[in-house]
């Protein structure tokens, strides 16, 4: 059930984009349905959690990596999940009326549900790796939501900034979480929370703490990362209300609360978290007072309140944690209402500039009432819920000693509260109070009920909790018990008696009123005060990062393959050297095999030929001839070292390669120009020599030792498991059949891609160059010599029989579909060479494309056939048959699979050569319709007819 709840928004996200075709109401309704459904399901689980139980659900995913999709629901999770879903519903309603007809609403709701799902995932995850995934998902989906109005540059910039800040914080958190998981030895949140003492005594505690806090602080916009939140206000107001007041920015706070039992209570925690929170709270409150943009004011106020929450959690005491939980609820109610109010004002008057507003109370009384109630709560005026938690916060500060100083925290907290009162009152008086003006950009009036219903509902909560705090008591206790790990049963009340907190509250309210009165002169002072502009600093930092990465990219990826190879090879050699010098190597266990003189000659030829290619590679044709020597020597080496399969394949591949290269060389310059200086070539030469020597010595060392490899298993199981004695073939078609299946598909794709590229090339500008190419100079007039035609005709059936033979015996003797395909393609190529393209092509009935297709299909069907026998894909079967008078023989499905390999190889090779040879005809080559230049039979016939 928990998993269903977590998945519902993601499934639901598929719907709005489609439902928008049925109209905006349908779209909004279908967004609300999954949310509502999830909320209802959550509520059925609620009683169990309220009784102190924990609901769990687990889905094995990658247990080897400690990754399982496990979810759990405790008090804290329930509180957040119901907040996310509840506010999500309200926002869906609000956005329906807020978005104009021009906005793509389907997209908006899809993003919204994606975000909702990600957020829900964070609060329900029981696995920190899973939590991290959802964490990053919220960053991504919020990027989409902030940049929703793609036409606004501020929207795009704000979205990028938010993603950069929260994303990099997320990266730091991944590192921190991994350290944490390592300390505990489990990635399960439940285990981690239970291992608080172990974590705090670990020497890795501080790094883990700092990294995790970086993630939490960036997400929750704590100083000095607070700057992204105001810029994210370029988003549509429903997004601001949902992400930037109620849910996403609370994710950081949630994480600190979640990790509270594991990480809190140390000096490091107190000084880092509480101090950051305190600074953020005061700074945010001060800046908020001087912002004229309604949403900017609310954004900085949110920063300030998040600071307050962070500070409370930083105190590390249980009472402070209770206050924090209570304030999370209260802040949600009044701040979401305020954002929606700001959105309504913007919607109706077409401006958010406080300096252009005022007197709206008479024009839009309902909105004014909602705004006033919410703002008073934000100010911390009695009988509204903000007062209660603020009082608790102030009370807690009086117990806090900071660096031996008992009054600095309460004093600063009161100072922050004072500014908080001031900006809250400014919101009321400068927007709704004062005389009605006649210069609004648009004449305002109250919006339709659908728009004010959502904030009004929140305001009812504000007042209800404010007047009757016992309503919220069980919820707060439930969540606070989950945070602290100790059952909490305190109760909330309005009147705490005459205590320091009361005086601080009174001082804050009085000071706030005074501050608002002298706001105008203060504003002028603020305007001329120098202050760092976060956006400029951020842009400069990003600029540096971009130029640094660009430098790195340009230095390593300059487009020259020699550079890539040099980097790759040097790195590999260095790694090999490190590995080599690190581990000990056992003494050699094998004797060096004797080297007969002829073998030495073969080796000598190989070395000389290889060296010559390096020296002579600029003369391309000569290099090709020398490559022929190399291929021949390698193939005979394979035969000598008892690898006939490899030799068969090698010699066929060599032949096909040479033909392919010759075909291409016809249209290429016959000389390679020098492209690099002597020094560079020397460098590359040294690198290549080191790499070659390294590989050779590695091979030498390994071949002198018996190393336990998988070969033993293959040898032992080839006959019994795969039904064949040719281990190489059994590996190809059975043990690693999946590999082979993938490879023939890749080969087929390569063949088709060459065909397609050549097609595009021959219809493009290159075709013009080809047509102007003069290739006719100095050529033999013996185009299709009689001797060659006759020889290849004789060879054809022999080669085909050899191919079939190699194919058939492949399972038990050297051979198989791959080699057979190559042999037959060589037989066909001979005909092409002898009698020309057109003559041969006319006699070729099956298209090569089809052949590739059939190959892959046959192999696939053979593999799928295993399903009929109830076995996994590509399991091969074999049996022995006896039909007199034939001797007993074996039939294996592997042979059918091999047929697929055969067809795919044949088709691909032929298609490649076919495609390359098409170039010649574009270049204006004529074709021959006769099989040979001069057919003696014709002459005899002609003479007879003449008679």
């Amino acid at each position: 059930m928990l998993i269903v709840i977590a998945l519902l928004p993601f499934i639901g996200a598929l719907v709005p984009g489609v439902m928008i075709r049925a109209g905006r109401n349908a779209c909004a309704t279908f967004t609300a349905i999954p949310t509502l459904l999830a909320l209802v399901m959550l509520m059925t689980l609620a009683p169990q959690v309220m009784d102190g139980g924990v609901v769990r659900a687990e889905l094995e995913w990658l247990p080897q990596l400690g990754l399982s999709a496990s979810f759990f629901l405790d008090g804290l999770g329930l509180l957040f999940a119901s907040m996310i879903l509840g506010v999500g519903l309200l926002i869906t309603l609000y956005a329906r009326f807020y978005l104009s007809g021009d906005d793509p609403m389907g997209q908006f709701y899809t993003y919204l549900l994606l975000f909702q799902g990600a957020m829900l995932g964070i609060v329900l995850s029981d696995n920190i790796l899973l939590l991290l995934i959802f964490w990053e998902l919220t960053s991504l989906s919020s990027f989409l939501l902030i940049g929703y109005w793609k036409h606004l540059p501020e929207g795009r910039q704000g979205a990028r900034m938010a993603l950069a800040v929260t994303g990099s914080g997320g990266l730091a958190m991944i590192a921190g979480m991994l350290i944490l998981g390592n300390i505990v030895g489990s990635y399960n949140l439940t285990d981690i929370l239970a291992a608080g003492d172990l974590i705090k005594s670990s020497e890795w505690y501080l790094p883990a703490l700092i990294l995790i806090l970086l993630g939490a602080f960036t997400k929750s916009a704590q100083f000095p990362f607070h700057f992204w939140l105001p810029h994210a206000m370029a988003a549509p107001t429903p997004v601001s209300a949902y992400l930037h007041s109620a849910t996403m920015v609370k994710a950081g706070v949630f994480l600190m609360a979640r990790m509270w039992p594991a990480l809190a209570g140390t000096d490091a925690w107190f000084y880092i978290v509480a101090t950051t929170g305190l600074v953020t709270m005061v700074l945010g409150a001060v800046i908020a007072l001087f912002k004229d943009d309604l949403k900017a004011l609310l954004a900085f106020s949110t920063v300030s309140h998040l600071g307050l929450l962070t500070m409370l959690l930083g105190f590390g005491t249980e009472a402070a944690a209770v206050a924090a939980v209570f304030h999370i609820i209260n802040h949600l109610t009044f701040k979401a209402a305020l954002f929606m109010t700001a959105g309504i004002v913007d919607h109706e008057t077409h401006t958010r500039d406080i300096k252009r507003l005022g007197g709206l109370a008479k024009l839009m009384p309902i909105t004014a009432l909602i705004g006033t109630v919410a703002a008073l709560s934000m100010a911390g005026i009695p009988l509204f819920n903000g007062f209660l938690s603020k009082e608790m916060m102030l009370e807690e500060t009086t117990h806090t000693v900071w660096w031996g100083n008992p009054w600095i925290v309460p004093a600063l907290a009161t100072f922050g509260a004072l500014f908080s009162v001031a900006y809250s009152l400014r919101f009321i008086f400068h927007v709704f109070g004062g005389p009605v003006r006649d210069d609004y950009p648009h004449h305002p009036h109250d919006p339709p009920a659908g728009m004010w219903l959502a904030p009004a509902l929140l305001c009812v909560l504000v007042v209800a909790i404010g007047v009757m705090p016992f309503l919220a008591t069980p919820i707060v206790n439930m969540a606070a018990s989950a945070v602290t790990g100790v059952p909490q049963d305190g109760y909330l009340k309005i009147w705490h008696g005459v205590n320091p907190a009361l005086f601080m509250s009174i001082a804050a309210v009085a000071g706030g009123i005074v501050l608002l009165m002298i706001h105008r002169p203060l504003d002028r002072v603020w305007a001329v005060m120098p202050r760092p502009e976060a956006k400029n600093i951020f842009d400069r930092l990003m600029g540096w990062a971009v130029s640094a990465t660009r430098w790195l990219t340009d230095a390593t990826h300059n487009g020259a393959i020699s550079r890539y190879l040099a980097i790759f090879i040097v790195a590999t050699v260095a790694l090999g050297y490190v590995a080599w010098s690190g581990g000990g190597i056992s003494a050699p266990t094998r004797e060096l095999l004797p080297v007969p003189p002829v073998v030495a000659i073969g080796w000598f030829l190989l070395v000389v030929a290889t060296g010559s290619v390096v020296i002579m590679h600029r003369s391309r044709f000569r290099a090709l001839v020398i490559i022929g020597i190399i291929g021949l020597m390698i193939s005979s080496g394979f035969i000598y070292l008892s690898a006939p399969d490899l030799a068969l394949t090698q010699i066929s591949v060599e032949t096909v390669t040479i033909m392919l290269l010759l075909l291409a060389l016809h249209f290429l310059p016959k000389q390679t120009p020098k492209e690099s200086g002597a020094l560079l070539r020397l460098r590359d030469g040294v690198i290549a020599a080191i790499a070659g020597l390294g590989t050779a010595s590695l091979a030498y060392v390994f071949m002198l030792r018996d190393i336990d490899t998988i070969s033993g298993f293959h040898l032992a199981n080839s006959k019994t498991g795969g039904g064949g004695t040719n281990v190489v073939n059994v590996i190809l078609v059975d043990f690693r059949g999946y590999d082979t299946y993938g490879e023939i598909i890749v080969l087929g794709i390569a063949g088709l891609a060459i065909f397609a590229m050549m097609d595009a090339l021959l219809n493009g500008p290159a075709a013009r160059r080809l047509r102007n190419l003069d290739l006719s100079s100095d050529r033999s007039r013996d185009r299709h010599p009689l001797m060659m035609v006759v020889a290849t005709r004789v060879m054809m059936p022999i080669a085909v029989v050899v191919g079939v033979y190699i194919f058939l015996r492949g399972h038990n003797q050297p051979g198989g579909g791959f080699v057979a395909g190559l042999v037959i393609s060589i037989a066909l190529l001979m005909q092409y060479m002898a009698s020309g393209f057109v003559w041969t092509q006319r006699r070729q009935q099956i298209e090569y494309h089809t052949m590739i297709g059939w190959g892959v299909v046959i192999a696939g069907l053979t593999g799928a056939g295993a399903w009929l026998a109830g076995k996994p894909f590509l399991t091969s079967g074999f049996d022995y048959f006896h039909i007199p008078p034939i001797e007993e023989f074996e039939l294996a499905t592997a042979a059918l699979f091999d047929l697929g390999v055969f067809l795919a190889v044949l088709g691909s090779v032929m298609l490649m050569l076919y495609s390359l040879s098409r170039m010649a005809r574009t270049a204006g080559e004529t074709v021959n319709l006769e099989p040979m230049d001069f057919d003696p039979a014709d002459r005899v016939q002609n003479e007879q007819e003449a008679k």
Binding site: V598, I626, I629, S636, I658, H666, S780, G836, V927
Partner: protein, 89 residues
């Protein structure tokens, strides 16, 4: 006796390979090189058969046959390239 003959023959073909290499290296023109390579293929075929006799297995004969079958194809291709430029017209 047979072994002595075999070793002698193997030695001769081995030296033959070195001479082929010399021809391929010296040239003087492309046709000499192609011929050198073709001869080298034939020498290798001979060596494979001799090895087969020496070891008493049929596997080498087969390999030799296959080399013989496909070995001349590349020679043809080289020649066609020299004579006509395009090997498949």
């Amino acid at each position: 006796m047979i072994y002595m003959a075999l070793y002698f023959a193997i030695g001769c073909y081995g030296i033959g390979l070195v001479f082929n290499l010399w021809r391929i290296a010296r040239g003087p023109d492309a046709a000499d090189r192609i011929l050198g390579l073709d001869t080298m293929v034939i020498n290798v075929i001979a060596l494979l058969i001799l090895f087969g006799i020496l070891k008493g297995t049929a596997m080498y004969y087969e390999a030799a046959m296959l080399v013989a079958m496909v070995g001349f194809v590349s020679t043809v291709a080289y020649c066609r390239f020299l004579l006509r430029g395009d090997i498949i017209e």
